[in-house]
């Protein structure tokens, strides 16, 4: 018997799973439509806000609107500038992130590398629970419990370091300052940064850490030279995510920050004056005149666009830093 001539190998078929039956088409159709619903929601939000905000953008010079200070609905023509609010939001959010970073990284390190398993588990639950506390409750707490304590810290800072302009305060009043608002905000974003950092730490290559320790590095130098550089991408993403959340925080800041509409507070973080776009919207909405509503909408557009950009960059970085999340 002669061996059979080898047949031509058929080209490998690419397996394509495409819904063929009607019910399957419906099933995948619905899920795809739902998947796009988030895009639709975001575009709807932008669309409606911009339509309503248009009169304000048209009547106020866009540059003045964004970067100048002043809010007066009685003036002729009315003045609606949110520059001071925008800067105030950034200042408070920046302070919040600044306070939150050491706390969040400490907790993540404590949970992943120091604590025995049982304590680590409990600490994780507590951090998640902190994230679940509604911001109005934190606002109430910040306004009645934290403010007096933080004002005392602020007074001490002012007394010992008051010669540095940042800590100067012409007033004797240390309540309702960006400093205190920053602390309240940091309590809110610590869980966000901590949970992402913890996850990055837990997925780190253990060989790297063991190798470093085996080479004679101390725990501290391992942390500084091995763990932090490896995890930095994810931490930066988590911090940006926290920054986005801090910028959008509304009610809690409303209670602990004295909002001054027509003046910039560039860096005097202990003085009882600051700004916040979200608080502006909340405070002015109730008795807004018909010219004022579009201006508030425009402020909302600015807030939304800024947070969306920051959060998108953050989620992109976090997704990059968590390759195990991909399927």
């Amino acid at each position: 018997m002669t061996a059979q001539a080898p047949e031509k190998i058929p080209p490998r078929l690419k397996l394509v799973v495409k819904p063929t039956t009607v019910p399957d088409k419906i099933f995948f159709g619905i899920s795809t439509a739902a998947g796009y619903s988030s895009i639709v929601l975001v575009s709807l939000i932008l669309l409606f806000l911009i339509i309503r905000a248009w009169p304000a953008f048209a009547s106020q010079n866009i540059f003045d609107f964004m970067f100048a200070a002043g809010w007066d609905n009685a003036a002729q023509p009315p003045i609606f500038h949110i520059g001071a609010m925008l800067w105030g939001s950034l200042l408070v959010a920046g302070l919040g992130v600044l306070f939150a970073i050491p706390m969040a990284i400490s907790i993540a390190y404590f949970i992943e590398f120091m604590a025995p398993k049982a304590i680590a588990k409990g600490a994780t639950v507590l951090v998640d629970f902190l994230a679940a506390i509604p911001s109005i409750v934190l606002g109430l707490w910040g306004f009645t419990v934290l403010s007096p304590v933080a004002a005392e810290w602020a007074a001490m800072l002012n007394k010992s370091l008051g010669f540095i302009p940042i800590f100067a305060n012409g007033d004797a009043n240390f309540q309702r300052s960006p400093f205190i608002a920053g602390i309240v905000v940091s309590v809110m974003i610590v869980p966000i940064i901590a949970s992402i950092t913890r996850e990055i730490f837990s997925q780190m290559d253990q060989e790297l850490i063991k190798g470093s320790l085996a080479l004679g590095a101390t725990k501290e130098s391992t942390f500084r030279r091995v763990i932090l550089p490896t995890a930095s991408g994810g931490i930066v993403g988590g911090v940006l995510l926290g920054l986005g959340r801090a910028l959008g925080e509304t009610v809690a800041i409303f209670y602990v920050l004295n909002v001054i509409y027509d003046d910039f507070n560039w860096f005097n973080i202990l003085e009882p004056r600051g700004g916040s776009i979200a608080s502006l919207i909340l405070a002015k909405f109730g008795e807004a005149t018909s010219d004022e509503i579009p201006a508030l909408m425009a402020a909302g557009v600015v807030l939304f666009v800024v947070t969306l950009i920051i959060s998108s960059i953050a989620s992109y970085i976090v997704a990059k830093a968590q390759p195990w999340r991909k399927n």
Partner: protein, 361 residues
């Protein structure tokens, strides 16, 4: 048979871990590093009458770092200095966050319990002025309003979020990465913007007056990201073999999902829903912009003022009377109890999902 080989296992020495051994001197210095700063700080508090928080960062922390470093030098020499710094700072900040959390919980229970009595849960606020004593009135109407609005919102959001989860796990669409990123970004959506959105879409255009259902719509974009992302995680934890098995047996994709994947992931999805509810139950700003506060019980979400717990707190703090702030604390405690119930049940429900978790992690 003289040359039988002894096959009984050789007793291996236990893995030696000499680095975990601590000499008595080390133990003593560790103990001293904990006790001495705390003791000195306590002494300082007693002598000057300062309270715990005032000198925490300026006196206690430097003292603790100093003593910790000394202990580090005693046990490990120069190398111990920075390690001690790492330990002290890490534990200090972790403990500080714990203190903050405990402070929130403590002040809530302390101030909230003063306001709470049985009738606080079921009475509404008709005929109650801001300075009426706490023997009258309660948050019954606000609890009902919150349950209604959040419930209606969940009715719309949960199917949408589950379908989004299906899109992210079952399809091979190229846009999934974008959607996933967008969902995460949406979780940072400022809540006041969600309120403005519904105000501009439904109320300015005259589709509806201020009403409960407008508030429910405003909660959707806030709840969707949480539910969708946790659902996605839950669906991903279901072994792909289960679904493939069903498909191989000839089930169409929709039946494979509904009868195999979904039941296998149901606890995870329940967790997602509970976490989503916990996320929005305390949202205040969207409801302030879309609903009117009411004092009476209103079960009609399409018309009339409707009170919710967060807006109740908001308005009662704004009024600023002692009794009104006490009422706000009471309502805050009620909301926190609801959040705690949701959170705990989410934890308890989530446990069985562990059966699918990959081994060796």
């Amino acid at each position: 048979m003289a040359n039988t080989i002894d096959l009984s296992p050789v007793a291996r020495p236990k893995t030696a871990t000499p680095w975990t051994r601590t000499s008595p001197a080390q133990k003593l210095s560790y103990a001293a590093a904990v006790v001495v700063p705390a003791g000195l700080y306590a002494l300082y508090m007693v002598l000057t009458g300062a309270d715990l928080m005032s000198g925490l960062f300026t006196i206690f922390l430097p003292l603790q770092i100093l003593v910790g470093m000394l202990a580090g030098i005693l046990t490990y020499g120069k190398k111990g200095i920075m390690d001690a710094l790492l330990y002290v700072v890490t534990i200090f900040f972790s403990a500080f966050v714990l203190v903050l959390l405990l402070s929130v919980i403590w002040s809530l229970t302390e101030a909230g319990l003063k306001a709470i009595s049985p009738h606080f849960f079921y009475q509404n606020n008709n005929y109650v002025q801001v300075n009426t004593s706490l023997e009258y009135g309660g948050v019954g109407h606000a609890i009902l309003g919150t349950v209604l609005i959040v419930g209606v919102s969940a009715l719309i959001t949960v199917p949408l979020a589950i379908a989004t989860g299906v899109f992210l796990t079952e399809t091979r669409s190229k846009t999934r990465g974008v959607i996933r990123t967008l969902l995460q970004a949406m979780s940072g959506l400022p809540s006041v913007v969600a309120g403005l959105f519904v105000y501009s879409m439904l109320i300015v255009t005259g589709v509806t007056q201020y009403a409960g259902w407008a508030g429910a719509i405003a909660l959707i974009p806030l709840m969707l990201p949480t539910v969708a992302r946790v659902t996605e995680e839950a669906l991903r934890l279901v072994p792909v073999e289960l679904r493939n098995g069903a498909l191989a047996l000839g089930a169409p994709a929709w039946r494979a999902f509904l009868q195999v994947t979904l039941p296998a992931a149901r606890t995870g999805i329940l967790t997602a829903v509970l976490l989503g509810l916990a996320r929005v139950i305390g949202e205040t700003a969207p409801l302030i912009l879309t609903t009117l506060p009411g004092n009476g019980t209103n079960l009609n979400i399409f018309e009339g003022p409707i009170a919710t717990l967060p807006t109740y707190i908001y308005y009662y703090i704004s009024v600023g009377f002692d009794t009104s702030i006490q009422r706000a604390w009471g309502a805050a405690l009620v909301i926190m109890i609801l959040v705690a119930i949701l959170f705990t049940s989410a934890r308890l429900v989530a446990r069985p999902v562990g059966q699918f978790r990959k081994k060796g992690k």
